[in-house]
Symmetry: C3
Subunit: 394 residues, 3 copies
């Protein structure tokens, strides 16, 4: 990766951290078109509301991180002003910016959730065309159901969706669920019966308003999707914790999934708890006690910037090192694809160095554990090498 | 401010932090009378129970902070024993102590909640008479209703309270609600209808026992107060999180307010989440995603003392720097008015210096952000300059 | 204690920390028989599930802590490989390992919960025979009820259990409840009436299946046990927070006990909140506001290893220093008895040194506070000196 901003470490941990070819196991495409400063600011917060008068999103951890760490990639000094930064970035096209920051991220494999805002970002095909890394697809369950449901009678919904899942499973690296947004984790955990699904499908499709899009929010349907996904044995990503104001954060604590996690334990599917902040300690507990549970601190690293070291350290309290992964959750501004990588490397190297310095970690272990969390765990869970082979056969 | 206890910083951040004329945006008056050691100890904990045998409140973070940081203002060495400290403070009158510590706090504007324990502390008028800083008043909604309700028929309560609010709004800097204490945040979020308020008023006033004080605990009335306050467009302070054993802390997580925050988003009122510990990360999320939400870590700084740096750092993870404020929540012992200021300055300067030192923050920003959090954000939200002008016209 | 791994401190705090003869106020026996590497790994996680393929429990904080801190006691270098470590430990008998690590822990008093997995660990009698420290017994309420209930008519259960409690109280240092595991803390707080207990006893004993063990899970019975225990005035230990996947962690937040804590406040019993992670800040609040509440961060120190300093620091934010205790919660591998002690000493000394270094704590206080938390508070609460006298009289 590009390393204009250094964090020299006497032990070489930082140098090891820079060398890792990361797997970004949950990410979206970068912006495909130009944005104004105001549009850029709106994409650097989880808020979807107008920016309050007299304030700027640049006065936040992510804003400072961009000025400090992204400015050098544009040839500016670290800490460049927002004005200078925005002026300089406007001299490049969206494609140039995306290539610069995404190639700079040192990522070998992008595991891409294609279920959100696809009109304004690169498609997986565009990512493959522009980038040196491999691109793998994660299929969003709710979006797939909403596609299938168009022109589908309620009585056919189960069969049609299961067929769509089977087709998608042939090339998908895994699934994504946003039940956190659409309902919350306080759903009835057991598998709904076909009759219950049918009744829910009738309610949902019966309430359709001509001209309006389909949006699944019924908890019976949402959890049915999860069970169908579990049947495939592929990893399932779950948005947990922090996100935009659509969700009720107190209903997105992954601990609320405990009973459901027990119920699906035998399915063979691995459950990937994404982001998890501010419940990342809870996620670490689940990852320790349940063999099929994994976690990351995803987008909270980008949004906490300089303060991300603390969050990374907390994510490594209970989580077995073989159950923790890296993701950026970047969507849109390509700075986020780069920053996620840089801040994760900086934070993880720094906390490991601290643990070695204080005499609590074997000196030679940071490099190996960096490699596990940044790359190897994801390769093992998503079977990335097999996916590559399958793609080359196709 | 007085700076007998130094925390020299090579970057000058500590010096910047000392120079800021703070707005203490949520505070109460200092003690107006003398106290014994036992009384002092009882005022240095959120417990209202007798101190357990064989223990002293001085063996706590706030106790150590007073010995370390307040002793020098009384001419003692840092770390003076509790005995020496109490003996020396008893040589001054309550007024002398209040002037010493409050002037020492470097606060230009005290935004005073006058709704609690007014018999034993300085009134706002006394604060104005003794202190160089300006004094602004926050009106406690529950106390105002209880005043209005005396000699008021249930049928007149709505009109009378709305009139009282309109009168109070002429000079109040904002409102305070303690619904966290009286019920919890798990209330039905929508605005109650006039009929629902009337029915609740009849229940409440019908249950009055001769000779007992009025105490509003009905959730319909409590949330009605919030809506009436929102109609004024003035800022509303909400006690969140940590407080005395009257409250059920798990019902005081500000995330439980999420639906209500959405409902009142168009009202124009800003919601000030006070204290928030141990839910301050949750409050930071709300402050990021909702334009009308602000927060502080108020009294948790005083009570965590040496450990407050961690809490301050956590409060700056997601919270936009334009949405974070300073308050001491001091009530009673004037040491708390001083300590809140000193510990906030020390903690905030230290965490910012750390972020600069580790290469994650622009070098020149700490001074500006200290000024925003310690002063400018509060001036903007409470319109402090306009308030001053209105007062000089009156 | 043994101190092959040093953490020299210019202030002598580490040296003070090493000298304390700890009271381990919640612990179980060490393994009485040999274990394979796989068995050892299964005992170094709170999971009771098979270890996921391609992973090892040694790749975790507790695994690294054992390699770093326990290896020297076996004559290996700090950071020895898992293979070297397991090979070396297999050269000693279970009894030799238990003596080595438990004597190395520097514990003068083991307060032993005898209610779990007694077949594979030393009994209190064996601990007394092998160890130089004193051994005190904590009686598990649910286990006692299940013993009494065998061959007991529902109508006699209350009288029989109360008699058993009275007998046990003669020599027990206190009680332990695992209502967190069996139900959760969201139980109805008030004392159940004798009729309610009788009805619950009938349900429970009526559902008995021939040949199956008795297991009390009825919330009426579980909370009745707590009230009977409170009647004795002895301390009651409550498992809180983190534990194995049997529990629903979100129902083990000690804040859910708030109403019950108010109800039993007059009983004279002290409530010892064990472990508490990730709710240790909540526990600290309860310990500050309720005179009868104490807490520790127990097993989370062992399982967070190098990261335990942060947890220890957080446990000292609100908790009065006279209300915090040390425990290892070690069960089985004697490494845990030793590590709990070593990591607590290292973490507590380090955070106190930091607070002194940053100028926020009186310089001479760390030694006294270490002694309070590590020893004196437990001696006071459990009356350990009187217990010793009673034992010598018996």
């Amino acid at each position: 990766m590009r390393t204009e901003t250094s964090a020299a470490s006497p032990r070489g941990t930082w140098e090891s951290a820079q060398r890792i070819r990361l797997v970004d196991h949950h990410v979206h495409g970068p912006l495909s078109g130009d944005v104004t400063r105001e549009q850029l600011e709106m994409l650097l917060t989880e808020s979807d509301r107008p920016i309050p008068e007299g304030t700027t999103v640049f006065d936040s951890q992510v804003g400072f991180a961009i000025r400090q760490h992204c400015a050098p990639l544009l040839g500016l000094e670290p800490g460049a002003s927002p004005e200078a930064y925005v002026a300089r970035r406007s001299q490049s096209t969206a494609d140039e910016l995306a290539e610069l920051f995404l190639e700079g991220a040192g990522v070998s494999d992008w595991v891409v959730d294609t279920g959100f805002g696809t009109d304004s970002i690169w498609s997986p095909e565009q990512m493959r065309g522009h980038l040196s890394g491999s691109v793998h697809e994660i299929v969003r369950l709710e979006a797939l159901l909403e596609q299938v449901a168009v022109d589908c009678a309620p009585e056919q919904l189960q069969e049609s969706f299961e067929a769509a899942v089977a087709r998608a499973a042939e090339k998908a690296a895994g699934w994504k669920s946003i039940i956190a947004y659409r309902f919350g984790f306080d759903f009835e955990p057991r598998r709904p019966s076909p009759d219950e699904v049918l009744a829910a499908a009738r309610r949902w499709l019966g309430e359709l308003v001509e001209g309006e899009g389909l949006r699944v929010e019924d908890p019976v349907l949402l959890r049915w999707l999860l069970y169908v996904a579990c049947d495939t044995g592929l990893p399932i990503q779950l948005h947990c914790g922090y996100g935009d104001p659509d969700l009720d954060l107190h209903r997105c604590d992954p601990l609320l999934l405990t009973s459901w996690l027990r119920d699906i334990e035998g399915s063979g599917s691995r459950i990937m708890l994404l982001h998890c902040y501010p419940f990342h300690r809870n996620a670490g507990y689940l990852a320790q006690v349940f063999p099929h549970v994994y976690c990351d601190v995803g987008l909270s690293i980008n949004y906490s910037g300089a303060a991300s070291r603390q969050i990374v350290a907390e994510s490594m309290e209970l989580t077995p090192f073989s159950k923790l992964l890296y993701s950026s959750d970047a969507w849109g501004p390509p700075e986020l694809h780069y920053l996620g990588s840089l801040l994760w490397r900086r934070a993880t190297a720094a906390v490991m160095d601290r643990w070695v310095d204080q005499g609590d970690w074997p000196e030679e272990e940071p490099e190996r554990i960096l490699q596990m969390i940044g790359r190897d765990n994801a390769c093992r869970v998503y079977g990335l090498d097999e996916t590559r082979e399958a793609q080359s056969r196709a």
